[in-house]
Subunit: 248 residues, 3 copies
């Protein structure tokens, strides 16, 4: 009651649920648990100790619309899921993306193609990570957040729930916009509050703290708190709350 390609390589102590599909040339390490209704597309590599919950889809090819901005220009590497990572129910991870070790990709989260995700990263329930995003280790993206294409997020960042990041000030109009499309550049230890909005190309400096509901229209300074619409500097982040502070 599964389909497992004869060219798939399956490690020891692997459990594959009902009605799951393991396609050609997939490699699955030892001690992997795959639940029901999962599809793993061809060439995907799953490291040891990974868990993939029901109805997840791994290694899906991008398939742009005729009017999509994105073009498929070169061949994608196969998807790689790192050691001990957990992929949630109904999550979708595209071809050409790599997760580090011990990541959590939440239920119904989507990670598009050409993303690189460091070790110990959490992508929350229902979050969307568009194409060509880099996320450093130990960063947490909470539930329902939207990470636009071409975003860079450093290490030990915290993206709270329902955050919006943007990359196109021209909103789909003019050919000129292609020169300017740019996601956020969120530096190590920065924290972006719930429901806040980060405009295209903004740099959020190291250890900046963006309050919930802020709309960030200008680059921020390190270790400062911002709030409001548009976001303005408000105060310094307390020393004991910095990454090198006590108890962190």
């Amino acid at each position: 009651m599964q389909y497992i390609s004869s060219s798939a390589k399956i490690g020891e102590n692997v459990s594959i649920g009902y009605f799951s599909v393991i396609s050609d040339n997939v490699t699955i390490g030892s001690n992997v648990t795959i639940l029901n209704g999962v599809t793993i597309y061809q060439g995907t590599t799953i490291a040891e100790n990974v868990t993939i919950e029901s109805n997840a889809v791994i290694g899906r090819q991008p398939r742009p619309a005729k009017t999509s901005t994105i073009r498929i220009t070169n061949t994608l590497m196969p998807t790689q899921i790192g050691l001990g990572t957990i992929v949630g129910a109904g999550a979708v991870i595209y071809a050409g993306s790599i997760t580090g070790s011990y990541c959590l990709i939440g239920d119904r989260a989507v990670v598009r193609e050409k993303c690189t995700i460091g070790d110990y990263v959490i992508i929350g329930t229902g979050s969307i990570v568009e194409n060509v995003v880099e996320i450093g280790q130990k960063t947490k993206i909470q539930s329902g957040s939207y990470i636009t294409a071409y975003t860079t997020i450093g290490e030990s960042c915290f993206i709270a729930p329902m955050v919006t990041t943007l990359n196109d000030n021209f909103m789909g109009r003019t050919q000129e916009r292609f020169k300017f499309i740019k996601g956020a550049d969120i530096r190590n230890g920065a924290r972006v509050g719930g429901g806040s909005i980060v405009l295209p190309g903004i740099k959020i400096a190291e250890e900046s703290f963006i309050a919930a509901g802020a709309v960030v229209t200008k680059d921020t300074l390190p270790e400062k708190v911002y709030k409001g619409l548009p976001a303005r500097e408000f105060r310094a982040v307390p020393v004991h709350e910095l990454l090198e502070g006590e108890g962190n």
Copy 2:
């Protein structure tokens, strides 16, 4: 390893993945690709050259709760998916909705019943389009946006990521509200910025540009930029960024 009803009509060169279900009286055109774990409910029509990614659900019947505002009053037409349209992984399209040709319905997007979607429309990843929504051709709705019931969106509009539209100023209270429930009326070429909020019954005029994070509480004027909470007129949209401008 599929279930295909004997009353389904399947065109030439159709590929149907593992553990997919094609119900009674479904019609599938030639050169259609259906991936794994897909359900297509009865009577649905799929035109030629369509692709349906894994775990999509097409033609689902609405089934309101006892306390839902919506009532099912008449029979729904079968779902129609237009020529060359792509339906993403885990997307759900209800009975009684029609997509045009060459649309892209993103992964995990939901399109409810009685929607009419024009040609070349993009509905982004995880977006929700409620019942009785009309969307004109070449309009793009980006990832994570919420289009409330009874919304009308014109042609060549751009709805950025994580936009919220609303239709009920009474928030579920009073019987009187049913007279006033009204979605947005978004006219041709209008653009609505990321994370912005459009209040019930608002008209966004032709080629209006709503900045990211704005809360639109009044009707807008054509070719004007609005921003803030509440949104206020800020400047004109530059002529070269209009639909008839150079390079568009």
Copy 3:
């Protein structure tokens, strides 16, 4: 073309779709309809007259990441789905949660572990209800909203679409934060407008009305309307719009 454990107890007049999985010790009442590709994990109890749409996942165990805040400390009760409840396509309900009778859990909604949901509750399409949330009867949570862990919502509340609730002012930093993590306390009859944001530990009083797009940073007073960033008191809720008003 299903998998049904021999230890499952199935009532009369139960319909189970293609490629669905009913695990060990599941109990399903009479007149239940389960569509295609559904997984129901072990020990789950489904009451009579329930409908579960395609690709829903019921009774999923939590599986925190190495860096998750949440810890699994005790055994979870099996999931219980109440009489006449409808569970949408692709929805995920965790082990240890209970829904009342006649609830609607929308398509792609996620309800985490240890939640208690009263009778006649609606959880909208794509909404996320995190762990340890209590929701009183007749409350409606509209599409795309995010209910953070440890939130309490009373009876007959209305949470509009795309609302964000938060529980951690420290955004994942300091050990001290664990003492202060606290969701919203939303009292009977309160209404929270579309796209608004409720900060950690805020009490929204009985029958308060939060306008769309507000950012609620302080506790509110009963029967008052709030709007803005930060939200400020604006006027009283009209008497005829209160729960005991005419026509309600």
